[in-house]
Assembly symmetry: C2
Homo-oligomer: 125 residues x 2
Amino acid sequence: MITEKIRKQPANETECKASLNSIADALYVIGGKWKLRIIVALKEGNKRFNELQRTIEGISARVLSAELKELELNGFIRRKIDTGTPVVVEYEATKYCNTLEDVLSSLSEWGAMHKETVRKSMRKG
Amino acid sequence: MITEKIRKQPANETECKASLNSIADALYVIGGKWKLRIIVALKEGNKRFNELQRTIEGISARVLSAELKELELNGFIRRKIDTGTPVVVEYEATKYCNTLEDVLSSLSEWGAMHKETVRKSMRKG
């Protein structure tokens, strides 16, 4: 356990910088207000544009459309078009989204912990 | 190990929604392009405004200033003012930043993995 903790601390300035750069790289691709939320909503099984917009509170159609395009470019989602009548467009999460499991679960745990902390401090204040 | 994996998968729709909400809560506070990068830079030992601006490539003084204020409001950083001559303002990460350890290490690992994936696919292409 202790060894684990020590391993996670970057050992020197070079490793520190590398770690900072990796975080910047990650945030460049999945940072921002919406991308991870869209990915989670897709993994939950939402497939249609309107379903996604309903699930993700506060996102506009214009922004959702732009975000979906970027996510597709980066290999996180696939856009499937059924050219019958009516034309049906569906989005799905690719396998690459599974690489985000640790990121998503650590964010989810932190978010729950933070909400509880804020709630407690408001009760006190 | 398998139990662990199963535990992490939300079991039903209610848990799914709770997990989505926690992620949204987390992104509300630490999402966006800069906040985590500022926290990491502070933890690396940068203390002065200009040091931070140099370390975090691409951030403007106006944005850094606004982000620092928000981070202070949310309890992630402390602003120390030494009223001698000249007045010295220093920022430091609070203990609460340590709660982000798992988030930061998973993002850092993912960022490094993603960069390598992109590099490999470009070599192929």
